[in-house]
């Protein structure tokens, strides 16, 4: 089995890339909710102390301040955990950022299950479902460090609100240096003919791992990486579904309303297809080491492969 090289943690990419962006772009600032040492906004702070804006532990105000900064021509990047960027200040995100299309980059890390043994207060399973339900919001989950860097650079240039879910810990690298992220474009990362797997974010590496395992058992999986959950690349999803006639989505989040929901909606409208959804099956979560949690909740490469086999066996 091919082993993938590990990428840098996406949170580190956040600190470094946004600091690099700020070298050339005086509009770039970071707004932090007292967790810069975790999100690695501290890297940015070191490079640009005057543009590192600490807001303390007060996320509603933090998102509102970002909206105000954006109206003055600045480009704020939000530094906090997914829980405290999406759920705690959701009303502010809605009224001050999404509705008026404020040029704010909501770029939290600690997305998904791998949050450093925190437990259910810190693990957000429904950020995709929530953020894609807001008008005007782009929703992007980069696969690895390479793509995280690209997405952050794209976000700084893009005018409008953007949600980027980043990971805490290193995950395998999916893309080479020649990769080109484009908003709204999904990418086939492996060709196959028996079943189409669709995944997003750091899960794509594990989905590829599952595809390898399946290949060893004679199942050929076609894998589509959907970095941009919104706007969704419907054509690519329809095409990928057409390749095998059978779709399974895989995401580090709830199977309710997230990537799986987006795919089911798109195919229901454009190409009715059987769609199963692998992810958190509407259950409460818990703390634990990354690997243990991925295994428990069925998102490790091995567990994904096992579920795909079981689903296919059901016919």
């Amino acid at each position: 089995m091919t082993t993938m090289t590990m990428g840098r943690p996406q949170r580190e990419v956040f600190g470094e890339t946004v600091a690099a962006l700020a070298n050339d772009d005086p509009r770039v600032v970071v707004v932090d909710g007292d967790v810069g040492s975790s999100t690695r906004a501290d890297i940015f702070e070191k490079a640009h102390p005057d543009r590192y804006l600490q807001m303390g532990i007060a996320e509603q105000n933090m998102l509102g301040v970002a909206a105000g900064l954006a109206t003055m021509g600045l480009v704020p990047f939000i530094s906090t955990f997914v829980a405290f960027a999406v759920v705690r200040p959701l009303d502010q995100v809605r009224v001050l950022i999404a509705q008026p299309s404020a040029n704010v980059k909501i770029t939290p890390s600690y997305g998904g299950l791998s949050t450093g043994q925190t437990g259910m207060s810190h693990i957000i399973v429904d950020d995709i479902a929530i953020m894609r339900s807001l008008p005007n919001m782009a929703v992007v989950l980069p696969a690895d460090d390479t793509e995280a860097d690209e997405v952050l650079r794209w976000a700084a240039a893009h005018v409008g609100p953007v949600y980027v879910r980043l990971g805490r810990d290193a995950t395998p690298r999916v893309f080479g240096p020649d990769h080109a992220f484009r908003l709204g474009r999904a990418e086939v990362v492996r060709e196959g003919s028996d079943v189409t797997l669709i995944s997003t974010g750091g899960q794509t590496a594990r989905t590829l791992e599952a595809a390898e395992l399946l290949a060893a058992q004679g199942i050929s999986a076609h894998v589509l990486h959907v970095a941009t959950v919104k706007p969704l690349d419907i054509d690519a999803i329809v095409a990928a579904a057409g390749r095998t006639g059978r779709v399974i989505t895989v995401e580090e989040g709830t199977v309710i309303g997230g990537l799986g929901g987006a795919v089911a909606e798109a195919l229901g409208e454009h190409r009715p297809t059987r769609v199963h959804r692998i992810g958190l099956q509407d259950v409460d979560v818990q703390s634990g080491p990354n690997d243990a949690l991925l295994d428990i909740y069925g998102l490790s490469g091995a567990r994904v492969a096992e579920q795909v086999r079981r689903i296919l066996a059901q016919g």
């Binding site: 007060a58 509102g64 105000g68 502010q92 509705q99």
Partner: protein, 302 residues
């Protein structure tokens, strides 16, 4: 003192603008058969002082980059703001009659995507101060001489977000930020109590002053219906001392309309024709029944 104040033509002009804001509020809400009344009326003098004295804005160039910013955080008082803006010339008084209607630029709560001259969308209470803090900080970071004014309700000051912003703004020494609290001692419903109209005031007497003070703000406490005091507070706030300033403006909810003053249920309510006539009389307008032309809105005033 009061004689010399009375003789000041600028103050007289501002008082007249406040009166006309109230007239337009009543007219628009009567016409829309919906909308808030108590809050816009209590804020009218403050809005007049802002739009006809304090704010550096250009009605003909509402997106002028170096304008002062104003955020009506208590967004349910939108019609008061719209009336002030119309009188100041941002748009015609006729347009006020589209208030609340479908496809209107004058949304029930301020929607900055629809109306140029609105510096922020509001309506969900507690948010305007955060956005205002971001603007004040942004002005600082971009080296622009822009001042930011935010108006809050006293009920709104129960929202935690207000205190998050209150805690953060002094850290950045944002003395280009001025918060005005329309301290009319009523919210929408609240508790029964011994405040106006048998309701409990959302903030006990003196409490707001103590709170903002404890959070490190420069506190100016005034009569929010006294135009000279309002201008004086603005002047003091402008002489920054490194702290953001808050003006606690004591007001009367429903001010200017006899039967609305201090009555909580006039927070939001449709107006009946007899009530409309009475309100206009209270505001010193010709009786609308006697003078049907009064329904035609006059020109914008500078």
């Amino acid at each position: 003192m009061s004689a010399s104040v009375a003789a000041d033509p600028h103050l007289d002009h501002l008082r007249e603008m406040a009166r006309r804001i109230r007239v337009e509020v009543i007219r628009s809400v009567y016409h829309a058969k919906a909308g808030h009344l108590g809050g816009p009326l209590s804020a009218a003098d403050l809005l007049a002082a802002l739009y006809f004295h304090e704010l550096r804005v250009r009605p003909e160039e509402p997106r002028w980059e170096d304008r002062d910013r104003f955020i009506l955080s208590k967004g349910h008082s939108s019609i008061g703001l719209y009336a002030a803006m119309a009188l100041r010339g941002f748009f015609t008084l006729e347009e006020l009659l589209t208030f609340d209607g479908a496809n209107s630029r004058l949304q029930g709560h301020p929607d900055m995507t629809r109306l140029p001259g609105l510096d922020m969308s509001t309506g969900s209470l507690g948010m305007g101060i955060s956005a205002g803090m971001g603007m004040a900080l942004g002005a600082r970071l971009t080296g622009r001489d822009v001042r930011v004014f935010v108006m809050l309700g006293d009920g709104e000051c129960q929202e935690g977000e207000v205190w998050e912003a209150a805690m953060a703004a002094p850290r950045y020494r944002l003395d280009n930020l001025v918060v005005i609290v329309d301290h009319n001692r009523l919210q929408q419903y609240g508790w029964p109590g011994d405040g106006p109209d048998g309701r409990m005031a959302p903030q006990a007497p003196g409490e707001l002053v103590a709170k903002w003070h404890a959070f490190g703000w420069r506190v100016l406490h005034i009569d929010g219906h006294d135009m000279a005091s309002i201008l004086d507070a603005f002047e003091q706030a402008a002489a920054g001392d490194g702290r953001p300033a808050v003006i606690i403006a004591d007001t009367v909810k429903g001010k200017g309309v006899s039967f609305m003053e201090g009555r909580y249920f006039w927070h939001t309510r449709a107006i009946k024709p007899e009530e409309y006539a009475q309100a206009m009389r209270d505001l010193g307008e010709p009786d609308p029944a006697a003078d049907p032309q009064a329904a035609v809105a006059p020109e914008a005033v500078r």
